[in-house]
């Protein structure tokens, strides 16, 4: 392993890394002292990351959004119609804030509703499996009415059955420029693992009786 950096391609990629590091230093030249110091502290580690083992870059989740491995992000920031925040908040409160109806979609890892800017906007952010189009299609086929009930407060929402629904969503989606997912399994795979784990525990209990 230690001799590998001497190969031509490794030398080339480490030159590129040097350049990248140089660029980072320049980038932080006008940053506050605090972060210049922070950069110095992690520079060695960063060097090896950008040189030897650069992580795979984030990819596109399709029409909008970022993806890492199997898991994508969707981030919508949507203007709310007058009275929309009050109605949506009341509905969420009636459900205890727990949106477990989303289980029906089957590919949603997590999902949040956050009111912004004095209730004039809503942040809707999810982590989900796979491709944007398939995901929106899942919502449209599995819980169309719940979606329309929740989105009723969105300014100009055409309804999930409208041919313009996807354009509307894409218009208000902002793609993340940094993304991280720890668990590289889909929701279905994680559930299967959970069931297998339980079965294994039972099995081990039985044979140790």
């Amino acid at each position: 392993m230690t001799t590998q950096p001497q190969t031509a391609s490794a030398a080339a990629s480490s030159r590129t890394a040097e350049e990248k590091i140089q660029y980072l230093k320049e980038l932080y030249a006008d940053a506050p002292e605090l972060s210049k110091k922070a950069l110095e502290n992690v520079l060695e580690e960063l060097k090896s990351q950008v040189a030897e083992t650069p992580p795979p870059p984030i990819e596109s989740a399709g029409r909008a959004g970022s993806r890492l491995g199997k898991v994508s992000e969707l981030t919508l920031i949507i203007p709310l119609a007058p009275g929309g925040a009050k109605r949506l908040r009341s509905l969420l409160q009636m459900l205890g804030g727990n949106l477990n109806g989303a289980n029906k979609v089957g590919t949603v890892h997590d999902m949040r509703f956050v009111f912004l800017d004095n209730d004039t906007k809503l942040l809707f952010a999810t982590a989900y499996d796979g491709d944007w189009d398939a995901y929106i299609d899942d919502f449209a086929t599995k819980i169309p009415d719940y979606l329309d009930v929740l989105n009723a407060g969105f300014e100009g929402w055409p309804g999930i059955r409208s041919p313009e629904a996807k354009d509307y969503l894409a218009k208000y989606q902002v793609t993340a420029e940094g993304w991280f997912v720890a668990n590289d399994l889909t929701v279905a795979e994680t559930r299967r693992l959970e069931r297998n784990g339980k079965a294994m525990d039972e099995f081990l209990d039985k044979i140790s009786e």
Binding site: L68, D110, V114, A125, G153, A176, F180, A182, T190
Partner: protein, 208 residues
Amino acid sequence: MANQTQTATAPESDAAAQKIQQLRELFADASDVGKAALENVIKELSSQVSAPPPPIESAGRVGARLGKRSELTIIVPLVPGGAKRLRTFLQSLGGNLSPGASKVGTLHDMRFVFFDNDTRLLFATSFDGDWDVYIDDFIALIPDYLDLMDSAWEGWPGIRNPGAKDYLVKHQITAEGWFVANPELSLAEIDRLKRVGAAADEFLDKIQ
């Protein structure tokens, strides 16, 4: 028996009717799309609000939690030039934050999103457990990565500053709706399940 059934179910259906009424009132001034959708799900929805799932709880100082999983949603104003610097830094990592983030063993997912013409940043994560412990983990495990990224944030005092937590709290907005597919599985448990799964597969292979 017949009487018993009547007395047992009558208050229930009264309560259900009341919930339906409440929902209809709530949507009286909604769009037609919203009203039509409500009618399609009103029975199911009213039974859900009559016996709602366990409510979301607090993740501690701020944020919502379901089971073991919490959410953190921070929106901060960016300093002039901050968006450009942070974006370029993110691009140098291919947008993949795993080098630093995977060191925090309780972090499920994390995103950085620029909006309002690069004047604001959304930082949103999903993590195991309590707010204070989580922030302490960041401080202990990746303080410099945090300061590198947060230097774009207006007024960020530095993670080693005693005012750091107050700054975060000030800019965090608690979600009012939250959902997690596997709320009872922490990352450590998922890792353990992966190992158990691999061991079980190996075992089954051997006895075949």
